[in-house]
């Protein structure tokens, strides 16, 4: 049987996962000082509920949601709040952040364990997930509690755990599935309970054979859960592609997974959900792959939220000479950093340091030769070269004729372009200049 995958488009970049694929997750000691942003999620930023000078414990809530689409923020160490100020985030924006001086004691708020969590009411479980401040930990950081509250007219029948990890270099989800398969599946079971769903799936790309093996054997004790190996193809980890791969359902243009009765959650998120419903533990740490040719000793690290990226890199022996780019996230959709004085947040799945190889960026590009590679690569069935040519000429409105807003900016077109045109960048420009 052929492995499952989505039907249109997709690319095969070198996955470069060997830097860290076989390295067990290590704990990184919390640094002296942490900067915890009050907005680590898609949606409204939190308002601070602590004041400078105040002592906080590990797991203390320091940021309270101000809207429905938001997620609370907790302290990842015990210590003293030094100040609350704007600090740059990995996207380059300034974000209100709480600076905490770590006292090194890790004195924690007492957490109540609930061994019988699986028999609790869905609403109770959902509330715990909400209180824990869980967001999509694959990088999109959409608040999980919101995803678990679909409107009544949109029934859900399947939940997919996204273990595709299709971004090159990243291995955080991979290691999580190897080391914590039961916990991840428990998270999925909780999700199924919350949404009253009988079918759970875990989609894992076939370049993670050990993860598939561990997950399949762990899965034996769970009812209604299937672990499915997927053909390796970027961007399979995109929700729409993953749903197509596993259930052969097409999320309608402009729609959401719930329009085809599906909810997708990342592996790291499933683990966090398990921790939240069983131990009432909020998200204060996450697994980060620190990798790439520019890192001296690549590692998979469990990092406290708010740890500066420079502290993480230092623990890995620092960067090698000749590093050209440091990226938060993967190289296909991650953010290039101008400084490493930027904190790890709930959405930081990796820190990738690239050395210059002539393939990382181009300052000049050539005319489009209409070779059609971008069309073949586009998982959404779009014609990216038309956007590129239109934007170059300033014909932004015409982009709408080619379904501009269906592009989710995976960058496949730009990866394959032999003229090295900044296609997805031009698409982003058009999106900001064109009214929907």
């Amino acid at each position: 049987m052929g492995l499952l995958t989505f039907s249109v488009g997709g690319i095969h970049p070198n996955d470069n996962k060997l830097y860290t694929a076989n390295l067990p997750i290590e704990n990184l000691k919390a640094p002296k000082q942490l900067v915890i942003p009050l907005s680590q999620h898609a949606g409204a930023p939190c308002k601070p509920v602590v004041e400078p000078g105040q002592r906080v414990f590990m797991y203390s809530k320091i940021g309270e949601p101000t809207a429905f689409v938001s997620a609370s923020v907790h302290s990842s160490v015990s210590g003293k709040v030094i100040e609350i100020r704007n600090h740059p985030s990995s996207t380059g924006r300034m974000v209100l952040s709480v600076v905490i001086e770590n006292d090194g004691k890790d004195e924690a708020v007492e957490l109540e364990e609930d061994e019988d969590y699986i028999n609790k009411e869905p609403d109770v479980l959902k509330e715990r997930i909400k209180q824990a401040g869980i967001v999509g930990m694959g990088g999109a950081t959409f608040p999980t509690s919101v995803k678990l509250s679909p409107p009544k007219e949109k029934p859900i029948d399947s939940i997919i755990i996204n273990g595709a990890e299709c971004e090159p270099y990243l291995t955080a989800d991979h290691r999580m599935m190897v080391e914590k398969p039961i916990e991840v599946l428990e998270g999925l079971r909780v999700l199924m309970k919350v949404l009253g769903v009988a079918n759970g799936y875990v989609g894992i790309e076939n370049n993670k054979k050990d993860a598939i093996k561990y997950m399949v054997s762990a899965c034996a004790g769970f009812e209604g859960i299937k672990v499915l190996p997927l053909k390796v193809k970027y961007p399979q980890g995109a929700e729409k592609m993953l749903i197509k791969s596993i259930l052969n359902r097409e999320v309608p243009a402009g729609g959401l997974p719930m329009d085809v009765r599906v909810v997708v959650q990342n592996v790291g998120t499933a683990y966090a959900i398990y921790e939240a419903v069983r131990y009432n533990r909020p998200v204060v740490e996450r697994v980060v792959s620190v990798t790439g040719a520019g890192i001296k000793n690549p590692k998979n690290l469990k990092v406290r939220i708010g740890t500066q990226i420079k502290d993480v890199i230092d623990y890995c022996g620092g960067v090698k000479a000749g590093v050209s780019k440091v990226i938060a996230g993967g190289p296909m959709m991650g953010f290039a950093l101008y400084s490493t004085d930027i904190p790890v947040t709930k959405g930081t799945s990796g820190i990738v340091a690239l050395v210059e190889q002539g393939l990382t960026h181009y300052e000049k590009y050539r005319a489009c030769i209409r070779c059609g590679r971008c069309i073949e690569a586009c998982p959404m069935g779009l014609m990216p070269q038309m956007f590129s040519v239109y934007v170059e000429r300033g014909f932004y409105e015409d982009c709408k004729d080619y379904n501009l807003f269906d592009c989710f900016e995976c960058g496949s077109c730009t990866y394959v372009c032999p003229a090295k045109r900044p296609i997805v960048q031009q698409i982003r420009l058009a999106k900001t200049l064109v009214k929907r």
Partner: protein, 347 residues
């Protein structure tokens, strides 16, 4: 303003941060390499003059590109392989006997006018090499249709023969192409010299026939084409739909004894069809970029080729068929888009 980057500075750009190794020059030069078997066969059958004719086309193409870009104050792009490729393709469509001014002038028409005046690489409407050849055919119809019998001019036992006729074509048996004979004297005459039909087909496969320098050997062209397809530089859609259409319609319409009696194989293996279907019609810039559109494009080329061969004044129609379909490429792309993910038909 130029920004100097210190060693310790990071480069900040928006994603994606990795790119494939494919570049335009790499594609162009690979296609050039894939045409070498056809060129070598030309040398084998028609002698070393082939090299001179082709070289003049290439030099003319490169010079034209440089000249027009210099004149227009644009960056010089002769290194990207595209002009070299156009020149080579033009050379392969010339008869070996042409006087040397024809390659020079028509390569200027090809690259200087058809490509550069329209905006350079990526902006030309028509296939440059084919416009160059069309110009030559119309301007010097006699010279562009004087074919010679292939004579294994490159014989190791008689190396001198290879060097004969290099300056101006003096001897060599003149001959007509199979399609030429078909047009003027009928199909019986085409097969007359052969004991069995298969002998002719075999000669067409090998390239043992009168014709343009690079078009005669089907096998040599297929080797290059296969190489490009395996590297995914060209897709099968245009060549397959083109060849299938020619085969089908020459079978239906090409016979003397009524419908469905034509010799499809003769039509598919003759003329410039192989070179045209695999190397001219698949030119990225002047053909549709969506697969569906490529099938339609190949179909259109096929129909026009058969109609010209059977019903019009010229014995061969590949060149004009592709040029006519070039006009339709943007229209085809506009109207045969891919299905957008999640979008229902008719929406």
């Amino acid at each position: 303003m130029e920004i100097k980057r210190k060693e310790s500075d990071f480069i900040v750009t928006v994603s994606p941060h990795v790119r494939s190794v494919e570049t335009v020059p790499r594609i162009m030069w690979t296609v050039v390499v894939s045409l070498l078997p056809a060129l070598l066969c030309g040398v084998y059958f028609f002698g070393l003059r082939v090299i001179f004719v082709t070289a003049l086309c290439i030099v003319g193409a490169l010079f034209s590109e440089w000249f027009v870009e210099k004149l227009a104050g644009k960056p010089i792009t002769i290194g990207d392989g595209s002009a070299f490729l156009s020149g080579l393709l033009l050379g392969l469509t010339m008869p070996v006997t042409v006087p040397f001014y024809i390659p020079l002038i028509s390569s200027f028409i090809a690259v200087g006018i058809t490509k550069q005046i329209f905006g350079g690489i990526g902006y030309n409407i028509f296939n440059p090499a084919l416009i160059g050849r069309a110009f030559a055919l119309i301007t010097w119809p006699r010279a562009m249709t004087s074919w010679v019998e292939p004579s294994k001019m490159f014989d190791l036992n008689n190396i001198g023969a290879a060097f004969s006729n290099i300056g101006m074509w003096l001897d060599g048996k003149t001959s007509a192409t199979p399609l030429g004979i078909l047009k003027l004297e009928g199909i019986a005459k085409v097969f007359e010299p052969y004991a069995a039909k298969a002998d002719l087909y075999m000669n067409l496969l090998i390239g043992q026939r009168a014709g343009s320098i690079g078009e005669t050997s089907v096998i040599a062209i297929l080797i290059g084409a296969l190489f490009l397809m395996l590297r995914r530089y060209i897709s099968w859609h245009i060549p397959v739909s083109y060849l299938a259409t020619v085969g089908l319609f020459s079978w239906i319409l090409g016979g003397k004894e009524g419908l469905f009696t034509g010799d499809a194989l003769l039509h598919v293996l003759s003329g410039g069809l192989m070179l045209g279907a695999f190397f001219m019609a698949t030119d990225y810039v002047t053909s549709p970029s969506v697969k569906k559109g490529r099938l339609v494009f190949g179909f259109g080329c096929g129909i026009l080729t058969v109609l010209i061969r059977l019903k019009a004044g010229y014995p061969e129609g590949v060149m004009f068929a592709i040029l006519i379909m070039n006009c339709f490429a943007p229209l085809i792309d506009r109207n045969l888009k891919q299905k957008v993910f999640g979008l229902r038909k008719g929406k």
